[in-house]
């Protein structure tokens, strides 16, 4: 760095005093923190040893000294065969956690030959029309040896029923099935947008899924409550924990109404927390997750009277967000990703998937995916951050931020609950409006240069971007998938399909669990579109409220 670079900073210091800084709460950040900021701090009450209530320091005593976090990369392969090949490759290289992404038509309950779906088949993930497709995706994979994470929400019950049928056909005992369906519909209304039915019937489907899982596939997580999309939609640090908590409690309450106990339900619920993104702040991101662990434990024990420590433990994986990745100078995103990952690991995540450096251009190439994995491996093996549990504990700044986060989360939750709860807030578009406004405000801060993005609004160069390799979907995929769908339809017993769909309609109208009626329809090779249409006849469709 030349002399000219350092001079202006010195002058600034002399003339204007230290720079002002504000937290995400809008409060000034002190120049330094000390014992005064932690008055009344009580180690046992506020932190506890790792593995002990209230789990601020981590949900297990030895954390990374016993087991590193799972390095999971989310990637959508276009065809069943490609996905199957990729899965086998990953398993051979020692990975046991697989992640399955679906194309948008599958997520929205549309068949591959639906005209509205014509440009989206096989993009962003694999197309699933019938049970046969899932059988091809999982061919030759021993389902009692892997855990699969399914990114699916509105159609989660249908996809899960398919998965159970594939496992049964393999002869796998259902109590050995492990994995997760995202199945977090409330955040879909606010962000991401793959809703189909109105909130109330959707809540019933989620409760049906939780109930089915805890009775039949107890090692399978029926819900992964997600913070990532809310964060990309403008949620502030504390909201990226308090809003998912509200969603999780809404699901839990729905199942409690059916006569189950909190200790049967809570251990089944997992979270996908967020770090990074446009709102990234290393210490706030660490503090919000530490505060989240403590708050969840307290809510479960004090408010819900859970007695099983498994109910108190906040089990979360973490996503390092792509929203913070810039299109300008994309290689800079590798550094951003590394800091996001550092935050997740300092906060004690058990699993991490990262956005890639080409995130702003397309879905990641193999090179970008590998680089993200390398970032995690460098962090795990070259930096020493895994040597001791919760290394930031006791920091005046981090502990005071953690306290502040917990207090603010409680306030947000109470406020939404006092306004009629999160389901109502979503139905009326209240949450959507609030986050859209926050996103706009952040964007304006970037425009004004108050929020710095290197290479975007500071240190910009006029150098032309170097060409980058970009992932392209294969346009033939839709045709071949439609061919397959036709073949399945030609080979099935259409009277049986109609009969099972009639049965499904009656089950949807009743207040019984829907799962026993989904299985025969899926087995008869009813398509995901046919099953969804049948449910729409009973449940209706969500109408977007005005949110902007």
């Amino acid at each position: 760095m030349g002399k000219s670079d350092t001079k202006p900073i010195k002058e600034t210091e002399k003339n204007r005093g230290p720079r002002e800084a504000y937290s995400s709460f809008g409060e000034p950040v002190k120049i330094s923190y000390g014992p005064d900021d932690l008055q009344g701090f009580d180690y046992q009450h506020d932190l506890g040893d790792p593995g002990n209530y209230p789990f601020t320091r981590g949900i297990y005593p030895t954390m990374y000294r016993s087991q590193l976090w799972t390095m999971r990369q989310y990637a959508g392969m276009a065809t069943a065969e490609e996905t199957n090949e990729r899965f086998k490759f990953l398993l051979k290289s020692g990975q046991t956690g697989l992640s399955l992404a679906f194309d948008l038509p599958t997520q929205l309950g549309m068949d591959s030959d639906d005209p509205l779906a014509r440009y989206d088949v096989g993009k962003l993930g694999v197309a699933l029309d019938t049970l046969d497709d899932l059988e091809r995706i999982l061919a030759g994979i021993q389902l009692d040896r892997v855990s699969i994470s399914f990114t699916i929400n509105s159609t989660a019950a249908i996809v899960l029923a398919m998965y159970v049928l594939v496992a049964q056909k393999q002869g796998v005992a259902l109590e050995r099935l492990r994995g997760t369906v995202q199945n977090d519909i409330l955040k879909e209304y606010v962000a991401r947008g793959t809703w189909i039915f109105p909130p109330k019937p959707s809540m019933r489907l989620i409760a049906d899924t939780i109930e089915y899982c805890l009775n039949h596939i107890p090692r399978f997580n029926p819900v992964s409550v997600s913070a990532t999309h809310l964060c990309e939609y403008g949620a502030k640090a504390e909201q990226s924990v308090s809003l998912p908590f509200l969603n999780a409690l809404a699901y839990i309450d729905e199942v409690l109404k059916r006569g189950y106990t909190i200790d049967q339900i809570a251990p089944q619920i997992v979270f996908h927390m967020a770090v990074g993104g446009r709102n990234f702040h290393l210490f706030e991101d660490v503090a919000k997750l530490r505060a989240g662990r403590r708050l969840w434990a307290r809510i479960m024990k004090e408010r819900y009277r859970a007695e099983n420590p498994e109910s108190w433990r906040l089990k979360f994986s973490t996503g390092a967000l792509g929203g913070g990745m810039t299109a300008a100078e994309p290689l800079n995103n590798i550094a951003r990703g590394a800091y996001f990952a550092l935050a997740a690991v300092l906060a004690g995540t058990r699993s991490l998937n990262m956005a890639c450096f080409d995130e702003a251009y397309a879905i990641p190439t193999d090179l970008a995916l590998r680089t993200s994995l390398r970032v995690q491996q460098i962090l795990a093996f070259e930096t020493g951050v895994t040597d001791t549990v919760d290394p930031l504990a006791g920091s005046y700044y981090v502990e005071s931020l953690t306290n502040h986060m917990e207090a603010q989360m409680r306030k947000t939750m109470e406020e939404i609950e006092s306004r009629g709860g999160v389901v109502k807030a979503v139905e009326e578009g209240m949450l959507q409006r609030e986050l859209a406004r926050q996103s706009y405000e952040l964007q304006e801060k970037i425009s004004r240069g108050e929020k710095v993005l290197v290479g975007v609004n500071r240190f910009k160069t006029d150098e032309e971007e170097r060409p980058m390799e970009i992932y392209r979907a294969d346009p033939q995929i839709r045709d071949s998938q439609i061919e397959r769908l036709r073949a399945v339809k030609a080979g099935r017993d259409s009277r049986r399909v109609e009969e099972t769909l009639r049965h499904l309609r009656r089950a949807a109208q009743s207040d019984k669990n829907i799962f026993p009626a989904i299985f025969p329809a899926v087995e008869a090779r009813a398509t995901i579109g046919e099953i969804t249409s049948t449910l729409k006849e009973v449940f209706g469709e969500f109408k977007e409220p005005a949110t902007v």
Partner: protein
């Protein structure tokens, strides 16, 4: 002199992509700039979008696409606009757009392409300049 009506903008989400935070941010920016902005909501067919553009008598159509299907969707939309006799509408595309696709979109008749993280001022300025020119104000 007769006062010109405010610029009317339709922001649409074609295809199945549900990521609309960018669209909502742009809508707020353009409203603050005094434009009248209508939002279609998610999952609109090109027929629905073209009909809305005609019914609402808009000056500008903005498409937000983050699913990677921008080339196909904008092609189809431009054809439908021409078929309904409004092929000269000012159409913009925003979203996840690889740099080499920008000239392709422009060759389809898209007037302006604004990939994610484009400064909001640029979008606003572009619309103002284009519409002023079309209205013969410049």
């Amino acid at each position: 002199m007769q006062k010109r009506r405010p610029i009317r903008v339709l922001i649409a989400k074609p295809g199945l992509d549900g990521h609309d935070v960018g669209a909502k941010v742009v809508i707020q920016k353009l409203r603050h700039a005094g434009m009248e902005v209508i939002y279609t909501g998610l999952r609109q067919s090109s027929e629905q979008i073209v009909s809305a553009a005609i019914q609402e008598d808009v000056d500008v159509l903005g498409l937000s696409i983050l699913s990677g299907s921008h080339l196909e969707l904008s092609q189809e939309l431009m054809e439908k606009l021409r078929a309904r006799g409004i092929g000269d509408l000012l159409v913009l595309v925003g979203g996840i757009i690889p740099p080499e696709d920008v000239p392709l979109l422009k060759s389809q008749g898209i007037a302006g392409v604004f990939p994610v993280h484009s400064p909001l001022e640029e979008i606003e300025k572009f619309i103002h300049e284009q519409i002023s020119r079309r209205r013969g104000e410049v």
